[in-house]
Symmetry: D2
Subunit: 127 residues, 4 copies
């Protein structure tokens, strides 16, 4: 797994160079990029829309389907990093900051096995 040897900066630079080489910064207004990100997220979702949650966990059993899902996830990440590039946001910082907030909002003891305030826990479907 090369994620251990790759910095977030490395991935951002890969995206930046691709954009620069095509003079696409002119199209990369955050408004436009947020639309592109949302469109790619929908294309990822398309692989799962008619199957059950359980079947979606087994998608890795089909190498072709897993590769297709991986491509859509890569597109999502490319646009997310393009937004970070455009707005000069440090990804590690905003993620760490958000995680601090999330830990306060969802204390582990209180939310263990519950996905939200209305969920009483129990089986995954909240029954």
């Amino acid at each position: 797994m090369s994620d251990s040897q790759t910095s977030v900066h490395d991935l951002r630079e890969m995206v930046r160079q691709f954009v620069d080489a095509r003079d696409w910064q002119q199209f990369h207004a955050p408004k436009n990029l947020s639309m592109a990100l949302s469109i790619e997220a929908a294309e990822l979702m398309e692989h799962f829309q008619w199957i059950t949650p359980e079947a979606s966990r087994a998608i890795g059993d089909d190498p072709n389907e897993l590769a297709a899902v991986g491509e859509e996830l890569a597109d999502v990440l490319c646009y997310a990093l393009a937004i970070a590039n455009e707005l000069n946001l440090d990804v590690a910082t905003i993620m760490r900051d958000k995680m601090v907030k999330n830990k306060l909002k969802y204390p582990a003891a209180e939310y263990r096995g519950r996905y939200g305030p209305k969920d009483q826990g129990g089986t995954p479907d909240g029954e």
Copy 2:
């Protein structure tokens, strides 16, 4: 900027530990995560829906608005990495593989200043 000192693996582990501590893996079917990712992408888009592309480039001038946008982008990235965790996809690998495909699909010489096949280049609005 700490993105230079942070590996993709580091961020993935941060997400994994948050999920594990709450026993939320039971909710993290890829189907559900793809919905969550798409919802967070929409929340990011919400900041830009009524403003012009130009105004969206200037959003960094308002520190409160930039911080709010950064939080939404962090949420998007958390769910994207949660999907990678769930499906055991190496982010650096899928992004590099996709970039190879993108370079073949959009040769730099042909797409310089054009966002797609229908765009004749010229001004950013395709005129």
Copy 3:
């Protein structure tokens, strides 16, 4: 059920008058409206993201939750009709035309109980 007594035109006029009374046509570029529509669709999806498909069928059992879902669906429809208003598209015509195409793409005999080309039929999860 008043849908029998309400024409599509009636609903479009309701949306048009609301927009006109606020001089909001200036914001209603199709680009912006398509973002608004997508955001509202995500807010609808939010009600279902962590529950099973079966649990989502039972949402009508909780009147408060059903009312909340109904509000999000109304928002989606308002923006969809605002787009039709802005582009002078007749909704009944585009829906009938699309249904003709859908019937050719998904012949009833071939797709009975199958959601797509890859689905072999059988149980809803494609097994």
Copy 4:
């Protein structure tokens, strides 16, 4: 324009019969339908992602592009009505109820030419 002669009920029945003829109700859990709706909204958005708001207003000048946008809008409406069918929600009722709420939330006098609380009015980009 046939929207004057078509009731909302007529469109809902058209969708219902298409679904029934394929025995697709088994796939039409509200969770799945909300994903499908969001995906179609993204496909509509795709036509506008790289162009300016002004250029999106002129999309009707290109008959092929307008027809393509109309098809995506039809898909959005089909799934929105499929959700109404599945949950037995009367569309005219939920839209009228939501409009009453919207009028209270956005009084015409206060929001004329302003899209939201943060918008000070003036030009469409909020300057």
